[in-house]
Symmetry: D2
Subunit: 388 residues, 4 copies
């Protein structure tokens, strides 16, 4: 190891996030027979702990896959070949959702977006109103677009569907929002919520989650797509029995039980308030630096990640590489059309004011060394928020 | 904890298996940015280490899923709707393979088997000879049937295909055989080898592997099934670049690098010889007890797991529950039509003579307490093998 | 690693013993400020948990040192230069106690013993009766002699002192007995009990314990030896405040809290019953083998360790080395005059029937391979005990 | 856990310091037979790795004790009752050294100091010149006074002894200096160097070290103090054989091997340069804040810890408690006569620019919330140093 690799590694990408020591310790316990009583109890408890975090009384299934697997599962359990789905473009991940939907045989109606603001709910309503034959089977909404740091108004999307008196299902991707910002599966009338383990849940990647509402369960009965590995019926049973149709990732279940306990002990409102404060402080630094956030709508800034545009002429990827090398700090890359134009500071999961201050200081020093033009003093601006 | 839960937990199911301390420690390292240089290097190295274990020069992809996910991936990347596949029945897992093949839209020709012997290669040849139009696109062979402890002759299956001058692809499930018994993807002319992390690889569940031969790569070009999440193209690229199309299970990659290093350091031949000796010792106990192994063909006994039939009138599941409670020892359950009629002793992965002796002693004491009729002294018979 | 080093390592020496995964996990938590509130709470709780295990209401101090440090501390806090102490010889550790007592300036009256039986309480009484001037200031008794596997009758020693109406203090070494066999500091009228972390407490070495009775506290006031680092006054305070006079081994305190919780949860009586059964089973094997235990008095066999004499002509150290190499099993060495003539099977701490069976099988196979003359079948004899 | 306890804990006391994940992982390996070949190899290697860090070819012994134990060992192995020792006062730890020296029977000549500057080497020379009968047997010098953040000029002390043509031994306490600032046992002519595991070595507390020069070895032959547990003869042998006279803390030896490997891999010069830069940055913040460091001599500032005086009227302990509660940041307390008047920022061990920035930000925000009068912007001053 070189000197620059000594000391705490500041993993400030918006996932995978830092795993708490207690969760790591839980995952280090000996493997279990996944068909035995101890695992059954562990798995059922973990599944139970998920419900208050999604704010649902419906089953939340656990899938051994990455978040993309949850997208695949959502589509193939609920929809049919050729179904139309409406997907408002908000950034890279909504775009990837379009892609996988098309790959799996759906017809995608994409509402174009500028990657700098959230879902335009008027346009959603308009599109649904135009769909007089009810051909659109689902609206896919990204709650927090990880590539841009822009959130969308999910109750607003719900209202758009309701206003249009349209029967489309509402699928919401909360992969980078859950346990970082307020979310209410039942209260907001969401039909299917998609999430993953490696962000707000403070776990390694490897588990995906689906909270499944009544209407989604109903819709699944007439799906003609093939879920195969992702067939959710046995996984729904497993939320009660802990008995999985294949060998589940035992170690991640240990971790999930522990990390959900930690979130519930901290209290969801406190978890969200902590993230909101960190995000606000981060933005205060950006403003002070004289840089622009990718998000242009004040009310849509993300609690989880701040995407920052670098001045013209600066290659954000080279800047990030220099910061990693000099300061043992990983920042998120610009994705898709933002490649090289932005960097992202993740501030979700097992984070606190001082880890954020380390990250902000690292960015500030890195920009200085790299010759980026900016106003020094961003740390002070962040501290003004954090010391309140 | 009760007294019976103190001390080393004898996890003697045929997967998940015991994870070595060094591997656990490796997996406990801080999460990494999965798009950064350190992960890229780690992932590429892990993928490289897989090749000598599969004995292949072809790419071995790493999929974040359980072994069932690898089956799904194998089918949906290579085959087309309605394709016929030939699946010799050898036990529960070959049966599950039939099921997932049918679920995913294939037409399955199953060669019935008795669950007590391996693949009848003559019948394979016969079925292929009968397929004069070449409608059978693939033969699915299970190398080691985990439910029965019976292995099959994969070179024999290859020879059957060759003898029939048939173009069917050969898919082999090595989930419970790899790193426990001899296997040679390239040398045996296998087109697609399927494996998972939680058995011979001594890792937690959560990763699946596919070694992909030339013909399988070629066949994939004309597949009309939809792989979606399981699309192997980007995963093949990732074996070189370490850059995954979604967030990969970073912690398991740390573990995979370490566990493959351990296997390669021990030496594959030594790994297999260790398993062979443990298996032989286990069978010596069974013979001494006067019980029957599920496997009835001497040359087909598994190195990985021994499936033991209990005398009529004994409920094997109740026996296992009693042994777990009294001796902190988990044994494998009877699956499918064997439920309650057999128990299984897994002896693969991070195992040695004395862990096996603990397991055998636990079984012997458990059978005695449970009132099973058997000849005491199975430990001595095992020791006669192990002390050689 | 070679094949023989794969799988669980059977650490069957009578200390250090196997550390449970939960305790290892607790010790892996981040270091703490040893002057902060969290450590204070942790340390006070750990000290509190020790009391029911020593069965005392008196303070039990925690010293950052090995068990030998506790001996040094016991002497230098309580006694004065030239004080006479009576030490019954029972084996290597009583002999070492004589040595350190002499090193520290005491005059030792040693009651010779044969290393095959416990303290002769009549001789203790006799020696005290002969000490008409009350020059003997303390009797040092070893509860369980780790080198021989022989226990002594501590209430009997107490009675001897009382019968002689002698004012000598009673110091008891319980390093390898506590949490393995019954012990009662208060009830048995012991003045000073010495222990260490690395045996029944299932912790790594590094902590020593002293339970200090009223009379020992009183005696300390007139001691003229210099305790220095081992001065117990601030350590007694620390049992309440958690504030140590130097930087205490924070990680071991985490572990101590956890391991004492485990012992108390299992229940001390159950802990002892578990050890008693393992010890009995071990001796049944020895008897079956036709070998001799070092302990010759039936009622004095140790719950913690069984010392086994090898036949003439066998070098026990070479035998142990071969067993370690072939079976990944560490056995205890013969110490002092027993070197090469015995080996020891430790069965204390985080042990259960199947770890013992692994050890017994390893010894039996090792003896066979090494050419020792013995009767095979020791495993069966042990199982007869353990399956009851 | 409350929100304020989530995220990385900033342990910025000057010991115990943060233990690297790799070291924690090493310490989590299964315990070993301390008399077996594997431990012997481990212990000998660890002892070997210590030599280049102390810059010595002499033996460096490893004692299972805290640093205070090393002091005790130093005195009781080398000196005799009533020996005079010269101890320049530099702060709390030199004062404690006086105390233990007196406790152990030495006569201490203390050179008074102001706790704000290092050893006055002229006064050392003067005192030695005055000792015409050569009654002073040793000079005890503290290299880095942990309570004040003041270092002393050890080559200067050596020169003072040489100039006085005096035969006194030179004992140096490097507990908080080694592996943080330049030190050269052999080159500087030190006779006995004392250190501990929990600071620059990045290990939990529990091991003490003594580097023993020729003259100290010689002097030991005529010592009449009793070392007992601390007798260094068998520990010197153990540096080669790995065979300890009592059960050594196996887990810490695993850790020591790993942490010394890390230091040697980083390179001692780089380790020291890293510390120097962090210390300089920390002082830049203090200057900017308009606060005073306890150290008043520019050339004597410590690389390991910065001691900062709070303005009159501020209770530094209450400030520290508030910072811990609000920011999960532990700062060092004021010790002895500095209690409540200073706080200390430890920046040694597994530390880097961003952990320091987190700490500085935490102090700045804490002082603000607590109502301390200071100039904001200390983070910027530190960054000016760190980004160079």
């Amino acid at each position: 190891m070189t000197s620059n690799q000594m000391g705490y590694y500041f993993l400030q990408v918006p996932g995978p996030t830092v795993v708490p020591e207690q969760v790591m310790a839980a995952m280090g316990m000996p493997l279990l027979d996944h068909r035995g009583p101890k695992f059954a109890q562990l798995a059922a408890q973990a599944a139970q702990n998920l419900k208050p975090i999604f704010k649902t009384k419906q089953p939340v299934i656990i899938i051994p896959a990455s978040g993309t697997g949850a997208w695949h599962a959502a589509i193939n359990n609920c929809l049919s070949k050729g179904d139309k789905v409406l997907i408002p473009e908000v950034g890279m991940f909504s775009t990837l959702w379009c892609k996988i939907a098309r790959d799996l045989g759906l017809e995608v109606i994409e509402i174009p977006g500028d990657w700098r603001s959230g879902i335009d709910t008027d346009k959603v309503e308009e599109a649904l109103n135009a769909d007089t034959n009810g051909e659109i089977k689902a609206v896919f909404a990204t709650h927090n677009e990880t590539s841009t740091g822009v959130t969308s108004d999910i109750p607003g999307v719900r209202a758009a569907i309701d206003n249009a008196k349209h029967g489309a299902l509402l699928f919401v991707d909360t992969i980078s929002s859950l346990a970082a910002m307020n979310y209410d599966h039942d209260g907001w009338g969401v039909d299917l919520t998609i999430c993953g383990s490696q962000k707000g849940f403070m776990l390694p990647p490897g588990l995906a989650f689906l909270a499944i509402g009544e209407k989604a369960l109903e819709a699944a009965k007439s799906s003609n797509l093939i879920a195969g590995y992702f067939n959710w019926d046995p996984l729904i049973d497993a939320t009660d029995t802990g008995l999985y149709p294949y060998t589940p990732p035992v170690s991640l279940f240990y971790g999930l039980k522990k990390s959900t306990e930690m979130l519930l002990e901290e209290g969801l409102d406190n978890v969200i308030a902590r993230h909101a404060k960190l995000a606000k402080a981060c933005r205060a630094s950006v403003t002070h630096w004289g840089l622009e956030t990718q998000c242009q709508v004040e009310s849509q800034h993300s609690n989880a990640v701040t995407t920052i545009r670098v001045p013209d002429g600066v290659n954000a990827d080279e800047l990030r590489a220099a910061i990693l090398k000099d300061f043992n700090l990983s920042l998120g890359a610009g994705l898709g059309k933002l490649q090289g134009k932005v960097f992202r500071i993740g501030h979700l999961g097992y984070q606190n004011p001082l880890t954020l201050m380390g990250a902000i200081a690292g960015v500030e020093m890195g920009m200085y060394s790299f010759g980026v033009s900016f106003n020094k003093g961003g740390t002070g601006a962040a501290m003004d928020i954090l010391s309140k």
